[in-house]
Symmetry: C2
Subunit: 435 residues, 2 copies
């Protein structure tokens, strides 16, 4: 055994070094900006939550297999949140009296699930959550579908790259019972089968269908319904269809934003009607990027007040897989804009003063911590992406000037310390004035 502790992060979790973090930050800031333009406000909550809030209405898979749990010194059973929706429902219920509904909120929490690490799956991920509370209107659906189109455009995705597949669990229930002829008490199991439809081979699906009591005829009919698109809606009673907000949306101008798809179920127990998933169209990455839906009864676990919810959670892992697959990841930002180099230890104080002036003008500026050969120090500055070096040297300094060198062109000029910020901003194309 090594005398040293291992340096790898815990299995399924990730270290984000600055180059990667810079790319992530750029992407998430674009998402935040779009979300805020729709009037959503950021909130946050704790990563530790009572286990009970997941046991009540989450998914069996998460609670039984994927929850990280611990017991604190006060014997409270806690979980690392596996998702944000139960937390936000709790917070909304606890503060309902002082909120003006509808409430539009977003967050960007880290969430944990004990999964087997593989492409698209890790144990700690960062998930942008966007939710609206307190409206039953189909305008929620439309707002979210528009928002998703804007979010995808903001990260550089064109509409051919992805598709927004939508369904309504109430319609699905009507399809399963009314059209396929499934007994009401088998609907939940069959919905689970539908959720696995695209992931499992046909023989495995047939086997599972038989195990939950479907006849061969029902299984065949189920396959037709699930892959037949909108046609099945005509076989559903008009009063069920007309109550569906999703049908209202599909019949409006916003219908072009989505594709109706009976295969969309979503794994969480709390969804009550509209459900949706954004899928990657790329042949190398045909999978769900993120999804959400309407959950009318989740806040009801905490409060007698009826507060319907609608929202989605967009995880970073699948999003960045998508961006990578489509070559949409931008370059990391340069480490630094300018480096101020003193040629000798005695000039370290003046160099720091020059650096201070640059920082005050909004220029990201470092000074070397140790005195090295000037040539080496300029090379280091260049490698770290600096556009400019400012050299504070003996004779120049005595004459009241420093050297500003443009590392892209090699041009250099003597300027007075007071003129350095304006000159450097000019080279960085930052425009005049302080930041």
């Amino acid at each position: 055994m090594s005398q040293f502790l291992p340096t790898a992060p815990y299995r399924g979790t990730r270290d984000f070094l600055p180059a990667e973090m810079s790319v992530r930050t750029q992407v998430f800031e674009r998402l935040y900006e779009v979300i805020e333009r729709y009037g959503y406000q950021r909130y946050d909550g704790p990563i530790l939550e009572p286990v009970e809030i997941y046991e009540a209405k989450s998914s069996r898979e998460i609670v039984e297999q994927q929850l990280y749990t611990l017991t604190d010194r006060g014997d409270r059973r806690l979980a690392l949140r596996p998702e944000m929706t139960p937390s936000v429902a709790r917070i909304i219920a606890g503060n309902a009296g002082r909120l003006q509904f509808p409430v539009r909120w977003y967050s960007h929490p880290n969430c944990h699930r004990y999964e087997r690490p593989q492409r698209g799956r890790v144990r700690e991920h960062w998930q942008v959550n966007v939710d609206v509370f307190g409206s039953d209107s189909a305008a929620c659906e439309i707002e979210f579908f528009e928002l998703i189109h804007d979010l995808m455009a903001a990260v550089g995705a064109t509409p051919d790259m992805w598709v927004l597949r939508v369904n309504d669990r109430v319609l699905l229930d009507a399809m399963l019972t009314g059209v396929v002829g499934i007994a009401p008490d088998a609907v939940r199991d069959v919905a689970g089968l539908v959720d696995r439809w695209e992931k499992y081979p046909a023989d495995k699906l047939a086997e599972d269908a038989a195990a939950i009591g479907l006849t061969d005829k029902q299984f065949d009919r189920l396959g037709e319904v699930l892959t037949g698109g909108r046609a099945v809606l005509d076989e559903i009673p008009a009063e069920v269809r007309e109550r569906s907000k999703l049908v209202q949306v599909m019949d409006s101008a916003a219908g072009e934003l989505v594709r109706f798809d009976p295969l969309i179920v979503r794994g969480f127990d709390y969804y009550t009607s509209t459900v949706f998933e954004v899928f990657d169209n790329h042949p190398d990455n045909r999978r769900s990027l993120f999804g959400g839906g309407r959950y009318d009864n989740l806040v009801g676990l905490y409060s007698a007040q009826r507060i319907p919810g609608f929202g989605f959670g967009m995880g970073d892992v699948t999003l960045f897989d998508f961006l990578g697959t489509h070559s949409l990841l931008s370059e990391p930002r340069a480490e630094i804009d300018a480096v101020v180099i003193a040629t000798e230890a005695e000039l370290a104080d003046p160099a720091r003063t020059v650096a201070k002036g640059l920082r005050g003008a909004g220029v990201r500026t470092s000074t070397p911590l140790d005195i090295r050969k000037l040539g080496k120090e300029i090379q280091r500055a260049d490698r770290s992406g600096a556009r400019v070096v400012v050299i504070v040297g003996g004779n120049d300094w005595a004459a009241g000037t420093v050297t500003v060198r443009d590392l892209r062109t090699g041009d250099q000029h003597q300027v007075t310390p007071a003129d350095v910020p304006a000159r450097v901003r000019d080279l960085l194309e930052l425009g005049p004035g302080t930041a």
Copy 2:
């Protein structure tokens, strides 16, 4: 028992509603900006870490009493990170081969400690961490002291509100052994006593001192040394004093940034020489806001390569207590800039189109999800902080216009939908052009 689940967050953790989150975001973005201007780059790491990385060189109190631990399904012993320094040392060691030292990094992780919740202490806090790795130069000390002054100025604090107290553990050891006459094997216990000096009453300190073997005379001498400021340095051998980076800094122009104070120890075992703490000067909040220091051997737990570190962690709880005490907290941002209201359901589509145009121009814009009375809707917009409402109404719309109303003045104008973005940007004083 209630039929409902409790809505309070887990004891010692916090929900951040949008108004509070907005204030936090403003403060932290100012901090990030200052830190980035010094050339620090953001990184991130997992919240779950192997327990071993804390057992090696953290603080006994944290490991024995404050760590949240769990065992995963693969029998790995994990902890919710109580602080970031062991994680960043691990990451630096694991990536040292591809880094150009010195490395300047910062992060903003959530950290957990099982503490008894009280003023300034919670169980989950958010901590801005700033570290430099790979330099032994006293220029690290100077850079951090300057950075701290800039950070405090950025959140609105004037120099009279706080003080940066500094010490050097090597000097402290020399004071304790050489000046007070304490046996080398008792130094660690006495350092613990020094750390408690300002928190405990005199009789409790005397009792503790006796328990660890100090004579009355040593205890009295210790008290003189700890409260006597810089004078004690003259009693320390010149070769020890001259090796101290802190003494070099205090003898330079940067000396004015700090106050030498033998009482500063810091609780972590990994600090090796310079240690510092920022203290609030306000009589209602005399306490440490944050601190840090030099840790030359922590990366050495992971790697044979010697990589000294220097850094600090600034927790949100003490920072916001400070800002609140000094009335430095800014107002939350308005929820929204503009609200586009359709007077009847049939005009919802045109209203959404107008909203889309505003969002494209960088204006945070919402549309009501349900149709209510116009007067009520305008009141709601006003309450949510909107400056402008745009009314899409029947006759106007038929005539090709909408109404733009300034909620501050009550002025309103008919404009064509195409002119709405420019008109609204004008009212919001955002200047011409799109964002």
